[in-house]
């Protein structure tokens, strides 16, 4: 699986997809899901909560590890992907699509600059460990 070009990435292996209107979707990368192994549980935030960049936004559990999903940037949660609670396996199956965790409003677009684009993440990723 590649690295969707229109996404931005963090060093903690989260991605955010911007859909123009200052709103974006957040998830974890294919690399992260592979490291984690079979996902058995996803803990989602409350709608309406706001996070600073780097704050814990959600958790993903496999049978052998727990992975904290950090907010890629300061944001307010508009919606969460309830379907992951009953079908956490989506995170393994379709990390960049069906397995989005939350739709968020981006509070400070400037922060986007600090995130990696696809090529930068691709370069960063392989030698990275969780």
């Amino acid at each position: 699986m590649g690295y969707p070009g229109n996404y931005r990435y963090t060093r903690q292996h989260e991605w955010i997809e911007i859909n123009g209107t200052g709103v974006g979707s957040v998830g974890i990368t294919d690399f992260a899901q592979k490291q984690l192994g079979d996902v058995v549980f996803v803990g989602l935030p409350k709608v309406g909560t706001t996070f600073k960049g780097g704050e814990e936004l959600a958790t993903v559990e496999s049978t052998k590890a727990v992975f904290e999903v950090f907010a890629p940037l300061s944001c307010e949660v508009l919606d969460v992907n309830r379907s992951l609670e009953s079908a956490p396996e989506k995170v393994n199956a379709d990390p960049y699509g069906a397995a989005w965790f939350a739709k968020v409003r981006i509070l400070d677009p400037a922060e986007l600059e600090s995130l990696m684009d696809a090529s930068a993440y691709e370069a960063f990723c392989p030698e990275s460990k969780i």
Binding site: V40, F41, G43, E61, S62, T63, K64, A65, V66
Partner: protein, 451 residues
């Protein structure tokens, strides 16, 4: 030494194999000055027979041959020899925590059956593989309620076992949890009035014992209603599990903290026992302790594994739901075997015998002039009496007649002088009850000086 399977020759063979000149070399990494030059000053070595002798002598210095009317969280109940036969099987006794499921199916399935039995008893949806005991289970239940509600205040009934309250306070103090005590009313049950006054939206949980420390059964539906009215959880601690054979289970409770000592475990001077936390399915991920779950193996056959492990310390470390690791597995197994032997009828009958004997004892004791029953609420196998004389003084006289009298409540409840907690189980014979009544009568009669 009989436990060590090496001959001197083998030792030297192994030493030379690792190119070590002496045992001393093995410890080269320990700085010279910290290596002990001489042997420790310890008693022994003892032969097996000497060890047995030593402990038999200690046993003789204890209470063998005394009749006992103590409960207060530790109960004498009948046990089948089968239970001990099972838990002394090496495959159960000398195995580790079942992390390697393929060679731990015995332990895992037994835990699964234990969890099921605990759910059936408590009327809850999930129960864990065990906690250390009822007191720590209660404390952990409160921490669990704190995580679920995200609130930092708990109400605890003064009628809850004093040791359980102490342990809760120890845990609460360091984790900055605010614990408020709710007094008991004239019936020995939680004071509704005081409770109403303390209810608030900041409340995480209300903790009560039932039967409580005075033996009294609390009105759980009412208490649950009160707690839930402010979005708090009701935690019910049960120190006498046999009561569940006859007493309505705490269905309204959100978390049940159970002490399982009554299920086939000897009093053993206070431990090891087995605690359990049971709760609703929706709270399972906030639950501490191990859980065995059913699944299938590579060939589709039913098998069991430890599951939802991401809650636990070895995975989540400082974010774990608890620091508990080693629990009381073998005690849980004993409880499972014991309850399976008793079965539905056996447990019911045992509970009925407790109820009947306690009622009989109460009747006999109330015939004694000067003896009164302060609390009117229903009870199971323990009840509170008040005497015209300090309980310690009476017990000192009972002791000379080989009777270990009831527990004096005054040390833990200064407001209850001369109050005693009497416990009677199916192991207490009618003869013992009558002997106790006579001895108590004898202890009180001389005080009947009327002008």
């Amino acid at each position: 030494m009989r436990y060590l399977p090496k001959s001197p020759i083998e030792r030297s063979q192994m030493l030379s194999a690792i190119a070590a000149r002496s045992m001393e070399d093995l410890f080269s990494s320990i700085p010279e000055r910290f290596r002990l030059r001489q042997l420790l000053d310890l008693p022994g070595p003892c032969a097996e027979s000497e060890i047995i002798q030593y402990f038999k002598e200690r046993a003789r210095e204890n209470s063998v041959g005394y009749a006992r009317f103590l409960g207060a969280g530790v109960y004498d109940h009948l046990r089948s020899v089968v239970t001990d036969t099972i838990i002394q099987r090496g495959e159960f006794l000398t195995s580790y925590t079942p992390y390697q499921a393929e060679i731990s199916q015995g332990t895992l399935q037994a835990i699964f059956e234990f969890q099921t039995l605990m759910c059936q008893l408590t009327g809850q949806e999930v129960a864990n593989a065990s906690m250390w005991d009822g007191s720590t289970a209660t404390a952990e239940a409160v921490l669990m309620a704190e995580r679920i509600t995200q609130r930092r205040r708990a109400l605890v009934a003064r009628s809850l076992h004093p040791h359980y309250r102490d342990v809760l306070n120890t845990y609460a103090r360091s984790s900055g949890l605010d614990v408020v005590e709710i007094p008991f009313d004239t019936d020995g049950a939680v004071s509704q009035q005081a409770l109403q006054a303390e209810l608030g939206e900041d409340l995480a949980a209300l903790v009560v014992g039932s039967p409580n420390f005075f033996g009294v059964l609390e009105q759980l539906p009412v208490l649950a209603q009160a707690a839930h009215s402010v979005g708090a959880l009701l935690i019910v601690a049960i120190a006498e599990g046999v009561s569940l054979g006859l007493v309505r289970p705490p269905l309204e409770a959100d978390i049940v903290a159970l002490e399982g000592q009554s299920f086939g475990l000897a009093p053993s001077y206070g431990g090891p026992f087995v605690g359990v936390i049971a709760t609703r399915e929706k709270y399972v991920r906030q639950m501490p302790g191990r859980l065995a779950g059913e699944t299938t193996d590579s060939r589709g056959r039913r098998g069991f594994v430890l599951t939802l492990v991401a809650r636990e310390q070895h995975i989540r470390r400082e974010k774990a739901t608890s620091n508990i690791c080693t629990n009381q597995a073998l005690c849980a197994l004993a409880a499972a075997v014991h309850l399976t032997l008793l079965g539905k009828d056996g447990l019911g009958e045992m509970a009925l015998q407790n109820l009947s004997k306690a009622q009989f004892a109460l009747g006999e004791l109330l015939k004694i002039p000067g003896v009164a029953r302060p609390f009117g609420a229903p009870f199971f196998n323990e009840f509170t009496l008040v005497f015209p004389r300090p309980v310690e003084t009476i017990n000192r006289e009972l002791l000379t007649k080989k009777i270990i009298g009831p527990l004096a409540l005054e040390p833990a409840y200064p407001e209850l002088p001369n109050h005693a907690l009497v416990c009677v189980t199916e192991t207490t014979t009618r003869e013992e009850i009558e002997r106790f009544a006579d001895a108590l009568d004898a202890a009180l009669a001389p005080l009947e000086v009327r002008a």
